[in-house]
């Protein structure tokens, strides 16, 4: 086998290895008892999926996946897991009462997907899909030419301008959905703050830790002695 053939088979090899890793770690997300372990395996799954995006020449989505999922959402999950002291929770049973039915439904969905795909509808190799996609990106950019004087740095690599093309599509063709999504994020942010806010009722004020109350007493005494 020549060097060219090996390099041509490289994406398939990477797909097989990374895909197996993704499936295995996703199963471990479900199987792990400790939520921290689940979260870390979820992180591994997200990183594997980002690699799969790169194989399908969606570099921008892969970058967003790493930034938003692996960076933002995972930190949020770990933060909440740490905030909730799960060791104090009773852990008699991990699985819910309907676990047998759940596994049955999951397997049924899996078989359904498999039978749909196994039909051979998409089994053929889409010939030179990567080249076509980059041509589409290129035509997109020539269709909506950006002002070169306003660009700080033009991408020198003409082969790979995925991020630029997706950005152009987002800000031109999908401007209204983009704005709606930004409004959605604002609503989600306000909702999270309002729901997560601790309401200080008089009952909770009474339950201020003892050492803070003692400290306040000491400070009061010191102030009085200073003024006297």
């Amino acid at each position: 086998m020549s060097m060219d053939e090996i390099s041509a088979q490289m994406p398939l090899l990477v797909f097989l290895v990374i895909g197996t890793l993704a499936v295995a770690s996703s199963i471990l997300v479900v199987a792990m008892r400790n939520p921290v372990h689940s979260a870390l395996f979820l992180l591994l799954t997200f990183l594997c999926v980002a690699v799969l995006f790169v194989i399908k020449s969606a570099e921008f989505v892969a970058a967003v996946q790493v930034l938003v999922y692996a960076g933002g959402i995972m930190v949020l999950f770990l933060f909440v897991v740490m905030l909730i002291n799960y060791r104090h929770l009773p852990e008699d049973r991990v699985l819910s009462k309907v676990w047998l039915g759940g596994i049955g439904v999951g397997l049924a969905v899996f078989v359904l997907f498999f039978s749909l795909v196994r039909n051979g509808a998409y089994a053929d190799q889409a010939p030179d899909a990567a080249k076509k996609l980059s041509t589409v990106s290129e035509s997109y950019l020539t269709q909506h030419p950006s002002d070169p004087s306003k660009l700080v740095r033009r991408t020198r690599d003409r082969e790979n301008r995925n991020a630029e093309a997706v950005g152009m599509a987002l800000y031109r063709d999908y401007l209204v959905p983009f704005e709606v999504v930004s409004l959605f994020l604002l609503v989600a942010m306000i909702g999270a703050i309002v729901i997560g806010k601790r309401e200080l009722s008089s009952e909770e004020e009474e339950s201020t830790p003892q050492f803070i109350l003692e400290r306040a007493e000491v400070e009061k005494e010191v102030k009085e002695s200073m003024s006297a």
Binding site: V29, V49, I55, L89, R93, V136, P177, V181
Partner: protein
């Protein structure tokens, strides 16, 4: 180059695993993680078809799905924290006031 069918099978597997997790697990945080897993499986489909059809729409939609997943995670975790403060539990089976 892996074919679209292989990508669809992978995403179907991830989706089924996430679905099993949502139904089977009792810990609410893990359930939320499994929902994220399912959304990610959908993203794999979108990107695979974007590549196959040579159309950027799929990637744009994947970006939107990621945004919605982020908002969903933020609100869901806030609800879980508030529930933990009120009930001292994150167990799905123990939160059944609406059960009737």
């Amino acid at each position: 180059m892996p074919s679209t069918a292989q990508y669809l099978m992978l995403s179907g597997t991830l989706f089924a695993v996430g679905l099993i997790g949502v139904i089977v697990r009792r810990n609410m945080i893990t359930v939320l993680m499994c929902i994220e897993l399912m959304l990610n499986a959908v993203n794999i489909n979108l990107v695979a078809f974007s590549h196959r059809l040579a159309d950027l729409q799929g990637q744009v939609f994947a970006v939107f799905v990621i945004t919605v997943a982020a908002g969903e995670a933020a609100v869901g975790l806030a609800i879980i924290i508030q529930l933990y403060r009120m009930r001292s539990t994150v167990n799905v089976d123990e939160v059944k006031t609406l059960h009737g």
